[in-house]
């Protein structure tokens, strides 16, 4: 039995709009897909899920049409299913280890998770189960998935929780990084944030921890007994090649922030965005795919250059597939060496060198090496750098006793305990740029550790 296909917007149509690409299953399709699951005794999918969701248990409920019960089962382990169902790299996690995938196609676990979450958002009545207030105050820095997950678990346990967020909107990367066409803001992201608010969590936007208030002030003066730092890894990297400051070169973060957070794609928005004729995106991760598909939708021709091969592309398989369908051109084994400008200082081309795969590096991947004399120029007026990000040093620099390691990542153990008593951390701020599910998981583990810490104090 084949995987139940999921409805999507036609590639030609969606390449010109910002509406969600994937339309999701309806109840009938979901039940049909769920019936493919073998309900394994020793399920591989669960082992590869970073938060070990009871996958066959919830799928069983979908099969029988008990969508509320399915939601309850997912909620035991995940607080953001509508989001993770959309953005998790399922092919390397649950679905990548599904027994059906050995001979045929894995169960569409992500699409089922998404269906269950969407169904319950649209039809369910939210039940707020919350312990009586315990009088203890906890501060959360950052409102990305790690901060939201930590806040909601603590609020459910009776804590008085305040999230401090520097941007004007909560959500972290879910708000400023991942585009509308993959993750709708109003229906999905704002809904999850509203759920966190409904638990009694206050979200104070426009507060920079490290400047407006410091972690020390929160603990010493404002009466917070513990602080969770979920400030992400927002600092964009550049390549350090010639011409990187020409007009028309952007970090993917800038491009995406203008389009997503500032909604520059909407004519009603006051924020400008640069729309080139020919855009080259450098990188191969989700961030590169998002930048490429955003530029494409704004009306540019788009080429992605990546220094390794298709097989190493770190982006979700679905995004690469979608990008291709929409008309994004890929040039593999290609790496920029310089960006060339015209007399006005605007980008006119990007000079790239061909690469070939050489010896294996420490990560076990064959590392790309340049082929001498193989430079070619690709015509472009816009270059978007999507080379990865590292944590912002502001909080570590302004917090007494908080240690960081290479790349500015905060030192913390499995449960989020840092080198400063009472201060916990998790998500990208600790691991460097990773995934939504890992950030959410880290936030929840830290919530449990904070609960123990305060009770034992």
């Amino acid at each position: 039995m084949k995987r139940t296909p999921v409805r999507e917007q036609d590639p030609k149509v969606r390449a010109t709009n910002f509406k969600e690409v994937c339309l999701g299953y309806d109840a009938g399709e979901a039940m049909e897909e769920a019936s493919r699951c073998l309900n394994c005794k020793n399920p591989g999918c669960v082992k590869k899920c970073p938060v070990n969701i009871g996958i066959p248990r919830f799928i069983e409920q979908v099969k029988n049409g008990n969508f509320e019960e399915a939601f309850r089962i997912i909620s035991e382990d995940s607080s953001l299913p509508a989001i993770c169902g959309r953005v998790c790299p399922q092919e390397t996690q649950c679905e990548g280890n599904c027994i059906l995938g050995v001979k045929g196609e894995a169960v569409a676990i992500g699409k089922l998770e998404r269906f269950v979450a969407d169904y319950n958002r649209e039809n369910g009545t939210p039940v707020i189960e919350k312990a009586a207030p315990n009088g203890h105050k906890v501060a959360i820095v950052g409102s990305g998935p790690s901060g939201l997950a930590c806040a909601s678990d603590l609020a459910k346990a009776g804590y008085d929780v305040t999230i401090f967020e520097v941007l004007h909107k909560a959500g972290g990367v879910l708000q400023y990084g991942i585009p509308e066409f993959r993750l709708p803001k109003e229906t999905v992201v704002e809904h999850e944030i509203e759920n966190v608010r409904r638990l009694g969590v206050r979200i104070e936007t426009n507060v920079v921890i490290g400047r407006t208030l410091t972690v020390d002030q929160l603990m010493d003066k404002e009466g917070y007994e513990a602080v969770f730092i979920g400030s992400g890894a927002g600092l964009p990297r550049f390549m350090g090649i010639e011409g990187e400051n020409l007009n028309g070169v952007f970090s993917a973060n800038e491009y995406l922030t203008r389009s997503n957070l500032m909604r520059a794609f909407d004519p009603e928005s006051d924020t400008p965005i640069f729309i080139g004729k020919n855009t080259v995106v450098v990188g191969g991760g989700n961030v590169a795919m998002d930048a490429a598909r955003t530029a494409l939708r704004l009306g540019s021709n788009v080429t992605v250059v990546y220094r390794r091969t298709e097989a190493e592309l770190p982006a979700r398989a679905e995004e690469v597939h979608h990008a291709r369908e929409e008309g994004v051109v890929f040039r593999m084994l290609t790496n920029p060496v310089a960006i060339l400008g015209d007399e006005k200082g605007c980008v006119k081309a990007i000079r790239c060198i061909r690469m070939e795969l050489g010896e294996c590096d420490a990560s076990g991947r064959r590392s790309p090496v340049p082929v001498p004399g193989s430079e070619t120029d690709i015509e472009a007026d816009t270059v978007i750098m999507a080379l990865g990000t590292s944590p912002n040093p502001l909080i570590a620099n302004t917090t007494e006793g908080l240690q960081t390691e290479r790349h500015g990542c905060i030192v913390a153990d499995e449960s989020g305990v840092t080198t400063r008593p009472g201060v916990f951390a998790g998500g990208d701020a600790v691991t460097g740029a990773a995934t939504v599910i890992l950030a959410m998981g880290a936030g929840r583990k830290a919530a449990a550790a904070i609960d123990r810490y305060i009770k034992e104090k």
Partner: protein
């Protein structure tokens, strides 16, 4: 929402506002800035902190109408609110890190171009309060565009005015006034220039031969103001720096002004169009 508790036009295109923002008022220091959004679909606009009153919980900003967003902000009235107001951002001025006692007797020259008077004010005020000697040169196109003259004269030892058309003070550019002061024997331990990028570039060229250290405050394009996007990147001392977190103040002699000027004009075509749309149906 952040209420505008006081508003007044200093010139037909420059507006002063006091904003109710208690957390910023208690944490702001000279040299830092805030980011403002006037309305839900508004742009994030960086503005220097011009004054702050921790007791009243207010922060003063001075804003010049140069495009669509500044026009919208200035069209708000006392009692209206800004949608967002975040800060303080950026590093405080270098002298804020020093022992205040060491500032006594130190000789400062401030050069303020046009609107630059506003961000110079809190710095001059702090230094003056701590016993430094403070001279200020204020340059403007014409007399009616000079702002905050009275307040400024209260926080400095000598206030020199220059106008392009000679309607007040020295007839000519601030760079000429700098030369005149130095020729007449004035000596300075530190100079600070804040104003249009092009003015800062020429002040740097003028002062470079004198070996007087010069600090400038770079008003680059910005989006988030927290180090997340790199829109604000400038080349300083041959290295790429993010003005919003590593600045906005830098050693002027290391700044690549030509690149900074070029990068500022990136969105000019779109901005002209936006401002045109915004003017339709408005009387400002």
């Amino acid at each position: 929402m952040y209420e505008i508790v006081f508003k007044k036009f200093l010139t037909p295109t420059i507006c002063l506002m006091e904003i109710d923002a208690p957390l910023v008022a208690t944490s702001a220091k000279p040299g830092q800035f805030v980011i403002v959004r006037a309305r839900e679909m508004g742009e994030r606009i960086p503005l220097t902190v011009c004054d702050f009153d921790p007791v009243k919980g207010t922060v003063t900003i001075v804003i010049q109408i140069i495009g669509a967003s500044s026009r919208i902000i200035c069209s708000l009235e006392q009692g209206d609110s800004l949608t967002d107001f975040v800060g303080p951002l950026g590093r405080p001025s270098d002298f804020m890190e020093e022992d205040p006692a060491s500032l006594k007797g130190r000789r400062y020259l401030f050069v303020a171009g046009g609107l630059g008077t506003a961000p110079v004010y809190p710095q001059a005020k702090y230094l003056h309060e701590h016993g430094a000697h403070v001279d200020v040169i204020v340059g403007a196109k014409t007399e009616s565009l000079i702002i905050m003259e009275e307040q400024m004269s209260e926080v400095c030892d000598n206030l020199h005015i220059c106008t392009d058309d000679g309607s007040k003070g020295h007839h000519g550019l601030v760079t000429e006034k700098i030369k005149l002061l130095l020729e007449s024997g004035a000596a300075y331990d530190q100079a600070v220039a804040i104003g249009p990028m092009i003015m800062m570039k020429f002040v740097a060229l003028t002062l470079k031969p004198t070996s007087i250290p010069l600090t400038v405050s770079l008003n680059t394009l910005m989006v988030d103001g927290t180090g997340m996007c790199g829109a604000c990147r400038v080349t300083v001392g041959g290295k790429v720096r993010f003005a919003c977190v590593e600045g906005p103040e830098f050693n002027a002699y290391e700044v690549d002004f030509d690149e900074a000027l070029r990068r500022q004009s990136l969105y000019r075509p779109q901005e002209i169009e936006a401002d045109h749309k915004c003017r339709i149906g408005r009387d400002l």
